[in-house]
Symmetry: C2
Subunit: 202 residues, 2 copies
């Protein structure tokens, strides 16, 4: 019986988009269950002394990431919109609202669909995922009721749960996204997705 | 006719070990020629404001790297010795001497063999590659004459050539190792080795 895999992602994370679109098909091949765990990279980066994404701090690293994302999206057959200069200045997105709504949605059977749609809106269609109207439309399209979900997203319990996910991520040694954990074994990066799922089968 | 691939590596770089051991077999499958290009990460990290490897600066990133290296080495059937605490304190190695000898050796038909043996000495057998005696033994074992190579390694021309490689790496946008370039297209990381070789065939 394969063990479940926790899939840790931040809605603002480029490589998390690739994993969000790929993980269920790869997991199904292996009979592995995936728990989707939204968290926030912001507090983790702050603890490392960064005030934004390393892709924004280190230009060469950033340039490579955008080019690599385009190549990888092509390879996986995923749509990808490389941000223009204005959009690039707004990278990374504020993902707190999406993260909170993701937590609420993932209690419902349309939750994973909603999460994928948030990533697609951002990275394939250049939508602003910090905008409650955008998020509301995505909730409705995925099968939820936006008014209810947005209300629950702002409840104390939801905020606390997202904070608790950040703390749990830290305690697992997570320092980037996407990450995957299997009984405490940590895998970092979309390019380790298959390794993590294989590990769950051992 | 596939284009040649430049393989950029620093002898102190853990993931460069994996690529050094794998690249010729993967390239041969595809009929791709590989130019081995030793360079130094030190000056590139300094320009990013780091005084050592990011794996040493960011503990969570470092812990993950050593664990991931073990898993990847197992996957590829490569020997790997995880450094003990003392060895960890000496990470990353001083790789200037190895880099200079590598440059000299790569003009000879035993050059790639020598480069692989330096990586193995360090990451499979915990040898100190900053030690000229270690490097000399590896030169002799690979088929060279250590006295001649060590002499040439200290020649002005060799030192300049290693510096020129660093400058060329920078101008190509290289910020880490291993990296692979195909006509200006940059790929970073052992996990992009196959992508780079595939790209050379397009």
């Amino acid at each position: 019986m394969p063990r479940p895999v926790d899939f840790w992602f931040d809605f603002a994370s480029t490589y998390s988009y690739l994993s969000a679109m790929r993980i269920e098909a790869e997991a199904e091949k292996r009979g592995v269950l995936v728990n989707w765990r939204p968290f926030l990279l912001g507090p983790i980066f702050t603890a490392q002394g960064w005030n934004t994404s390393p892709f924004a701090i280190y230009p060469a690293k950033g340039r490579n990431m955008w080019r690599d994302m385009q190549r990888r999206a092509d390879k996986y057959g995923l749509a990808f919109h490389r941000p223009d200069a204005d959009q690039m200045a707004a990278f990374p997105s504020h993902s707190v609202l999406a993260g909170r709504c993701g937590l609420v949605a993932l209690d419902e059977d349309w939750g994973k669909k909603f999460c994928r749609s948030v990533f697609e809106a951002q990275f394939a269609h250049a939508a602003d995922i910090a905008d409650p109207v955008t998020i509301g439309d995505l909730i409705d399209a995925a099968g939820g009721v936006s008014q209810t979900v947005l209300f629950s997203a702002h409840a104390r319990g939801t905020k606390d749960m997202l904070r608790a996910n950040v703390e749990e991520a830290k305690s697992l040694g997570i320092f980037g996204a996407p990450s995957f954990t299997v009984d405490g074994e940590l895998f970092w990066g979309d390019d380790r997705l298959e390794d993590a799922l294989d590990w769950a089968q051992r």
